[in-house]
């Protein structure tokens, strides 16, 4: 085991979270976009949380508060026609593709203005027109589906890339294994991004996984390079994403990237997250990707006022979106009975 671990560590880019790299090559506009996107994700999901607390969101919901750098880094590096596949923890991944806040909040509240008019709910945000090809709520399923979209792009010669986000816990399910092997042998333009937030629902990933890095330590089993990145550093994510996109677009095949990060809250609405040691939680709160990145921008000479403007614009945006979503009516119940089939209908008989 010890030999093994050394091997992996040798070839991974494993930075302790919080130690931000210079990233001098990233253009300042891009950096501002990264910051804005993270900030937008943050306020959007904080608002979602408030709405739960007001019982305006029913069912369940899974926030990625603390994980915004991953969504922002990949979303910013993406081409508009690329494909995103994500999980029930997919608000941010969907949002960064250009989907409106109102349609996301509306969907969480089950309103007519919702992205899916309430038919899918929080766990299934999808916007095909934005390349957000769905949020999948059963662990593992979307990895082979993302490979399939990549196959289609390859066959059609479009140079689109398919990117698939999932958690550390997902690396122990069969579909992970099948999708990785499959993507490699067909050299598909797909990027598998494991957001390692250290926990499945309430169980620590290390308690149920045979290796230390649940994704990266499996990479070589598929002939892939093991890559671990600081998932709380938007620059690091952006760079890793850019590299992987370029590789995929050049016909270099898939990548598997493990981004270390942490969710600030519990697994889902019902979970206060008490199974996590206080000091662990505190250490990660201290490494919150958003204030850290803000500090970096200030260090790089960005005016405080410019950042404040981004922030107040966003705060206003989320207020307006909330108002609009709250004022949106419930969907007509008629829509529950349609759209099983491509003809718009739901009938199984003549």
């Amino acid at each position: 085991m010890s030999k093994k671990k050394k091997d992996v560590n040798k070839s991974v880019k494993d930075e302790p979270p919080g130690i931000l790299k210079g990233g001098a090559e990233i253009a300042i506009e891009t950096r501002l976009r990264l910051y804005r996107t993270m900030y937008e994700c943050r306020v959007l999901e904080q608002r979602a949380y408030d709405l739960f607390m007001q019982n305006l969101v029913k069912g369940t919901s899974h926030l990625a508060l603390g994980q915004e750098a991953v969504a922002s880094g990949f979303g910013t590096a993406m081409r508009p026609d690329d494909y995103t596949f994500c999980t029930y923890r997919g608000h941010n991944h969907t949002y960064v593709r250009g989907v409106s806040m109102v349609s996301i909040l509306g969907e969480l509240m089950g309103r007519e203005c919702g992205l899916l008019r309430g038919k899918g709910g929080s766990m299934h945000l999808t916007s095909v027109e934005h390349g957000a090809m769905g949020s999948y709520a059963i662990i593992g399923a979307h990895l082979p589906v993302a490979a399939g979209a990549a196959w289609s792009a390859q066959y059609r010669g479009t140079k689109q890339v398919s990117v698939c986000f999932f958690g550390d816990g997902t690396t122990n399910i069969g579909a992970f294994h099948e999708a990785l092997n499959f993507a490699v042998i067909w050299k598909l333009p797909v990027i598998f991004v494991c957001e390692n937030n250290l926990y499945m629902e309430y169980t620590a990933i290390q308690d149920v996984t045979a290796v230390e890095h649940p994704a990266a330590d499996r990479a070589e089993a598929y002939g892939l390079e093991p890559i671990v990145i600081d998932g709380n550093d938007a620059d690091v994510v952006y760079e890793a994403a850019s590299t992987a996109y370029a590789k995929a677009r050049d016909g270099g095949g898939p990548s598997l990237i493990e981004a270390k990060t942490y969710r600030h809250g519990g697994h889902s609405r019902a979970d206060p997250g008490k199974y996590r040691p206080d000091d662990e939680l505190q250490a990660w709160l201290d490494k919150d990707p958003i204030p850290m990145y803000r500090e970096r921008l200030v260090g790089l000479g960005i005016e405080e006022s410019q950042l404040k403007e981004i922030e107040s614009e966003t705060d206003e945006m989320v207020e307006l979106a909330t108002e609009e979503a709250r004022n949106s009516p419930s969907p007509s119940t008629d829509i529950a009975f349609i759209d099983v089939w491509a003809d718009g209908g739901a009938s199984w008989r003549n």
Partner: protein, 325 residues
Amino acid sequence: MAELTYREAVGAAIAQEMRLDTNVVFLGEDVAAAGGVFKTTAGLLDEFGPERVKDTPISEQAIIGAAMGASMTGLKPIAEIMFSDFFAVCWDLVANQIAKTRYMTDGQCSFPLVLRSANGGGSRFGAQHSQSIENWAMAIPGLKVIAPSNSADVMGLLAASIRDPDPVMFFEQKSLYALKGEVPDGEHVESLGVAKIARAGTDVTVAALAAMVPRALKAAEVLQDQHGISCEVVDVRSLVPLDTQTILDSVTRTSRLVTVEENPRLCGWGAELASIVAEELFWNLDGPIVRITTPHIPLPSADELEDAVMPSSEQIVQNIKHLVD
């Protein structure tokens, strides 16, 4: 009599059986330290320790496979699949391996195991976390299939399932977890394969399961009070073995059958029941057999939408009024 929630009855049954038989072991995702995501199994780890109450990775095939291998070599495992929808990721182990191996091996192996899961709609979880899949299991020879509607039945039938020498699929309707009900004191075990007449009546037999039982009972009350129609509500409880005797007896008396299913329309257990009655009691029937089901659609997430598609007591009232009028 103690008052337990449906949720608490799950844990109570498991604890009761684990105390009696050290071969009973329990595994699943987040079931031990966290006590289950529905908090059904809180306290078991503390009482029985980590050798008997085990957290697993997100590996449903491994969970069910482990239960199978353990059951054929002397243990009596209980495995939790968090939401019944997830049986789809390990259906081979359930439907092709566990269910068939006893038969294929000319009776050499038995599989005394229980696969329990949170099943059904009404919690606004959307199409992938709300299915009622009792009929998936019922369609597979070699599986027993149980779906209780109240705390006492959860306790008595889960205990019986754990003791049963055959594989039992035990479906807990997740929207009932908070429901309270009286449970007999002391050791409580019922028998699989016995339906219960939840309300006696004379005009029409209403067969219902799990969350549809309270709805059928409410409808029966309204039908009696407002329309003078007397419904006999049968809580089917056990799909396999199926207590056809109780059901056929009831229909013989009432001459009418209505089934209330939560699952999508096609090939539900109600169809099976309808076909049995249409064959065996044809000459006793006074009218068409009516099935009330969710339409043949996935479940939507928003509350108004979900409520619009699942069978409601109002819908049951309407259908039965129409039938009997």
